[in-house]
């Protein structure tokens, strides 16, 4: 029984490590695509990004520093400074999505469970592909010269961000806790001025 449990534990660890290795590979590719178009001086940025990608795979580092978020931020900055072309940007966007999705993979996971977890990520990946295709199609259209169109495009991008990023619903207001004067067994202090007391035992009942 102990051997079976140990074997299962080994399988779980290897499946979890496989997911993390895939995430690391995706992260390195994410940094490599813009680095191909970048000058040599930008390699320092790539090196920092590589360290962050490796750090994001180590649990205690990722608990201290948002290494994955910083690594993707570096990739975006690299792409903004030295854009690798339209197809390169499309691949970069998908690599970023793959890296972020795989980085979330649970570590203690069996091989069968890993397959099920990967299948659960398919809708997000497919949505990313559709989104990339839509933007590619929009970019393939002849550019318009009107500034209103540019403004409308920007507004659409902002609207897409606001719609896509979910927000937590506002929590209902909690009822106020009873104050010290209001606790049972303690008489409420007398209010200023005359007070009408309801009930047959009150002084004003008659």
């Amino acid at each position: 029984m102990n051997e079976t449990a140990a074997g299962r534990r080994g399988l779980q660890a290897s499946a979890g490590r496989g997911l993390h290795a895939a995430a690391g590979l995706g992260g390195l590719l994410m940094l490599a695509v813009p680095a191909l178009a970048a000058p040599t001086a930008a390699l320092a940025l790539t090196g920092a990004g590589t360290l962050l990608v490796i750090g994001s795979l180590v649990t205690w580092v990722s608990r201290q520093v948002p290494a994955g978020t910083l690594a993707t931020g570096i990739a975006v900055i690299q792409c903004a400074a030295w854009p690798p072309g339209t197809l390169g940007l499309a691949a970069e966007g998908l690599l970023m999505l793959g890296y972020v999705l795989l980085l979330d993979g649970p570590v203690p996971i069996g091989s069968a469970t890993a397959g099920r977890w990967l299948r659960g990520q398919v809708p997000a990946g497919a949505a990313g592909l559709v989104g990339t295709g839509a933007v590619l199609a929009a970019l393939a259209a002849p550019p318009a010269a009107s500034p209103w169109l540019v403004l409308a495009g920007l507004a659409a991008a902002v609207a897409a961000y606001l719609i896509a990023v979910p927000r937590l619903p506002r929590l209902p207001r909690q009822p106020r806790p009873p104050s010290a004067h209001n606790t049972p067994g303690r008489r409420r202090p007398a209010a200023r001025g005359p007070v009408r007391r309801a009930g047959p035992s009150g002084d004003d009942a008659s």
Binding site: T69, V76, T86, M96, A127, L139, Y161
Partner: protein, 455 residues
Amino acid sequence: MRVQAVTGRAAPRLPGAGSAGPRLTAHAVTWRAAPRLRRLATVSLLALLAAAVTGRAGLLLLAAPALAALAVRRGRPRPATVQAETALSATRCFEGEEIELTVALVSPQILDEVTLDLELAGSITLVAGPAAQTVLRGARPGDGQPAGRGAQAVWLLRPGTWGRRTPGLVRIGCRSGGIWQAGLELGMPAVEVFPHPPPARPWLVPADLRRRIGEHAARTAGGGVEFSGIREHVPGDRLRDVNWAVSRRRGRLHANQRAAEYAADLIVMIDGFSEVGPAGDSSIDVSVRGAAAVASAYLKAGDQVGAVALGGMLRWLSPGASSRQFYRIAERLFDVRNDSVVTPDLDRIPRTALPPGALVILFSPLLDQRAIGAVTDLRERGFALVVVDVLRHEPPALSRYPVAALTVRLWRLDRAALRTSLAGLGVPVVPWSADDALDAVIAPLRRVAVPARRP
């Protein structure tokens, strides 16, 4: 992460769980953004800003997949409360026995991922199953999981050291849509771990036995089985007691005389004033195990056993002979680990708890003057007393100090002098080392009449 237990709710059972399954309690959970949501939102925001600042529409290709992935995940309903509970297969066990911990969680809405992480206290080890387990949506009933609506995990634990302790806690992480997460911390019921008694026999017998049927041969003649002498036959003697060889030699009938068999009163005493040694093998651990062994052996022989714990508040338990007495003694000794500067006043122990004529076995490292004072006090009051020295770890002689070895040698001499002075009072002191069995340590004293009189 805030978790608030909701009381007064119905407590259903986990679907598929047996009658011994845990009763579920409702817990309110607070959902927060998962790291994935933060990463995707940051990437898309940075890409949009970069596109706006540089005027390159191509940078929107970086934001599009992240935004699309977020949009497809945002509409998943999340439960405001989940029902969860931990249950142990037993709340009382002996050291080294295995107990099963079951954690169950049921959610009114489907959860994508549930992570169950076990954090154990120091003296408890995990026997089987990984400490962290992940259950995904779509787990089949054959996996032992309630499909989609919750999770269940089973761990096998082994408590290593006696005491009343909580095995640890279970952290439950829930994910919905991959972008929302909530956490829950579940405590566990306390487990009473009884000391595992090493084998022992009731070798030591006090001089004064109770007038109660038992297994110890008394000095007086009676109806036992142990031979005690030969006397002339008197009317009423049984025929089978006639010693024919002696009768033929003497020319008159003689009969064998047998000793009466009575029960003894035993008090096990623990010195909790000082604790020396590593956890699990400290002087108090050894003392409690020894006391449990002695109590178990005498209770099996039909004797009455009581307990007194020195250290902190004085605790005692009147002698009793029932089978439950062992557990009562062990429970009384659970709280012996209390630091205190109070000198115990043994006069406070009632006569029923420390009956005159009882044999007292004290387990002590003989390091604290208050314990030595208690020994002297008891002896002067006429109790038959045996001290088992449970000190197994000497102070280290550090080689960098030239006088260290000499100091340790002096310390040993001091302890030898203490043992000699106690022996002069009529209190035998037997050292119990790790290599010796308690039975072998106590056995040489069985021929020594433990006097129950004032020195």
